[in-house]
Each structure stands twice: as structure tokens, then as C-alpha cells.
């Protein structure tokens, strides 16, 4: 599958899914009014890719600084998709990056990771330049 690359907009994150290398990342902020319009194409590509994995190893990085409640629901969906693929045999390592002074993003990482059974999850504090 070709790499899925979507540039960030004012209210949606940068998406880079390098399927060949098995490196997927979401970066930036997400607060579109219509989250399904933003996440629909992302889910579609991810679902197709996850179905091809078997026992392959992949890495998924979430480096988000803010998202609204409808994006939170979409992210929860994404974690559920990853966990299902993990249950089917894929080896998936998720990293959730947050700034050390950002309790909200840290807490979201903890919330999302709670249900994961078949995915390895790390919370990673990263100092940002800003």
C-alpha cells in the first residue's frame, strides 16, 4: 500500500502512514466540527492495512497537543481497531507523546490505554521547544 500522507490543516492533524515501513503517525491538533470527515479516510486506509498484517510488527505514534470531544471518540475508535488487529496476531507498539506540563494529554493517553489488551503502549513525555 502507498503511504497515506495528509497535511495538517488549522483544525486537523498531520497524518503520515508509511505502510511499507510499518510506521504510522498522527501529529498536531484535531478539532474539526465534523470529525467523521477527517477521520473517515484515515480509518478506511488503516482498516485495509491492518487486514494485511498477520504477525508483522508496526509502530503507531500519537503526537497530539489538543483534540476536541468528537476527535476523542474517533481516536478511541482507532485504538479499538489497533487492539483488534493485535488480537489477530499483529505486533503493534503504540507511543503516546505528551509535553510534561500537559496533564490533559497525559490523562487522555492513560484513558485510551486502559482497554488495550493486545497492543504494547508507552506514554512518552517529551519536552517541546515552545
Amino acid at each position: 500500500m502507498d503511504t497515506l500522507k495528509i497535511a495538517a490543516t488549522e483544525r486537523s492533524p498531520e497524518v503520515e502512514f508509511n505502510f511499507k515501513q510499518g510506521l504510522l503517525s498522527l501529529r498536531g491538533e484535531s478539532y474539526p466540527e465534523d470529525a467523521s470527515a477527517v477521520f473517515g479516510p484515515i480509518f478506511e486506509a488503516l482498516e485495509k492495512f491492518l487486514a494485511t498484517l498477520d504477525g508483522r510488527e508496526i509502530r503507531v505514534d500519537f503526537d497530539l497537543t489538543y483534540f476536541n470531544s468528537s476527535s476523542a471518540k474517533a481516536l478511541m475508535n482507532m485504538f479499538q481497531m489497533l487492539d483488534r488487529a493485535g488480537g489477530a496476531g499483529a505486533r503493534i507498539a503504540v507511543s503516546w507523546f505528551y509535553s510534561p506540563d500537559d496533564d490533559t494529554m497525559k490523562e487522555f493517553g492513560e484513558d485510551f490505554s486502559e482497554d488495550l489488551e493486545h497492543v504494547s503502549f508507552s506514554l512518552v513525555a517529551v519536552e517541546t521547544a515552545s
Binding site: E10, R11, Y66, N68, S69, S70, A72, K73, D102, T104
Partner: protein
């Protein structure tokens, strides 16, 4: 006269601690620009990062609730040329930020909205967090474009219970407003 009139209008806003107030047709573009100005203003005043995030988050959820649910709209949703009318006001009082939103709601939607807000008012922080997680895992409700979780997000960021009120306009509509302190 003109300057006197608007000076007193501005003075009234200043007296209430208002940083900015928007009234009229809300769009995603306006939301973005106001939100950006809000974050810049708070950053310039060295507001701590956690507070900036909370205020911004409450502002976004409130503005998007107006866009989705205001009963006062022009245009046609099917042609995606719809604008919703409402008001968002942000200010400080007693060294804390407050965010107020107001819009018209249909009388038929009032009981459900009131129930949801009353339920949130009675919850403590832990209960709100648990409720958020429960809703996060649920499939979206029919007809609701995510209102419940948006209101829970607002309650989660607030430092005290949400205040809200309804004022009947006519048989079909209410003026609804909600105040959140950070």
C-alpha cells in the same frame, strides 16, 4: 454621541471582565480565529499551560455546540451553507477565567438538555471522568452529533459545577445560556 455610546458599551464589557465577546453567526472559521486570539492573549499574559488548554477546550466545545445545535440558523444544512447564531463570551472574574455561551434552543430539546446538565452538576470530578470514559466507548447516539460527550468534556475542565439557565422566548423556543469557570 456615537463615541459616548460605544465608550459606555465598551466600558460595560470591561467592567464585567470580558476579554472578548462574539455575538452573531458562528462558523468554523470564526471559531478558529477567536480561539487563536484567545490562546495568544493568554500566552502573552503568561497564563499557565494547563489553564490555557482548559479555557481553549471549553471554548471549542461551546462554539461547536452553537454551530450544531442553535435553533437560530440561516441557510440549508443539506447544502452545507448553514450558519448558526449564538454568543460566546470569555472573561475573568476573581482571578479566574469564565466562558459563557448562549443560543436559542427549541422548546422540544429543552428537557433533554436540562437533564444532561443537571446530571453533570451533581457529579464530582471522579464521576465526571468515569462518565466521560463510558461515553467514549459508546456508539454515537442517533440524532446527537456528540453533544453528550462535548458537555462532559466541558464539565471535566471546569473548576466548579456548570451553571446554566433557560429563558422562554415564545411557545417554541428558549434562550439558553451556560457559564463555566476554569
Amino acid at each position: 454621541m456615537l463615541a459616548k455610546y460605544y465608550r459606555s458599551f465598551k466600558h460595560d464589557l470591561d467592567q464585567r471582565g470580558i476579554i472578548f465577546s462574539f455575538s452573531g453567526y458562528m462558523s468554523e472559521g470564526i471559531l478558529y480565529s477567536l480561539g487563536d486570539a484567545l490562546r495568544q492573549k493568554m500566552a502573552l499574559e503568561d497564563t499557565d499551560v494547563g489553564t490555557v488548554k482548559k479555557v481553549f477546550s471549553v471554548f471549542v466545545e461551546q462554539a461547536q455546540n452553537i454551530i450544531r445545535y442553535s435553533a437560530e440558523k440561516v441557510g440549508d444544512a443539506a447544502r452545507t451553507a448553514e450558519l448558526s447564531s449564538g454568543m460566546v463570551t470569555i472573561g475573568t472574574e476573581n482571578n479566574r477565567f469564565f466562558i459563557v455561551c448562549a443560543n436559542t434552543v427549541l422548546a422540544t430539546d429543552e428537557p433533554k438538555l436540562r437533564d444532561r446538565l443537571e446530571r453533570l452538576q451533581k457529579m464530582d470530578k471522579d464521576a465526571i471522568k468515569a462518565y466521560y470514559k463510558e461515553k467514549l466507548r459508546e456508539a454515537p447516539e442517533e440524532q446527537s452529533k456528540g453533544a453528550t460527550i462535548g458537555l462532559i468534556e466541558i464539565a471535566r475542565r471546569a473548576s466548579e459545577p456548570i451553571e446554566f439557565d433557560f429563558d422562554r422566548i415564545d411557545g417554541d423556543t428558549f434562550f439558553f445560556c451556560m457559564k463555566v469557570c476554569i
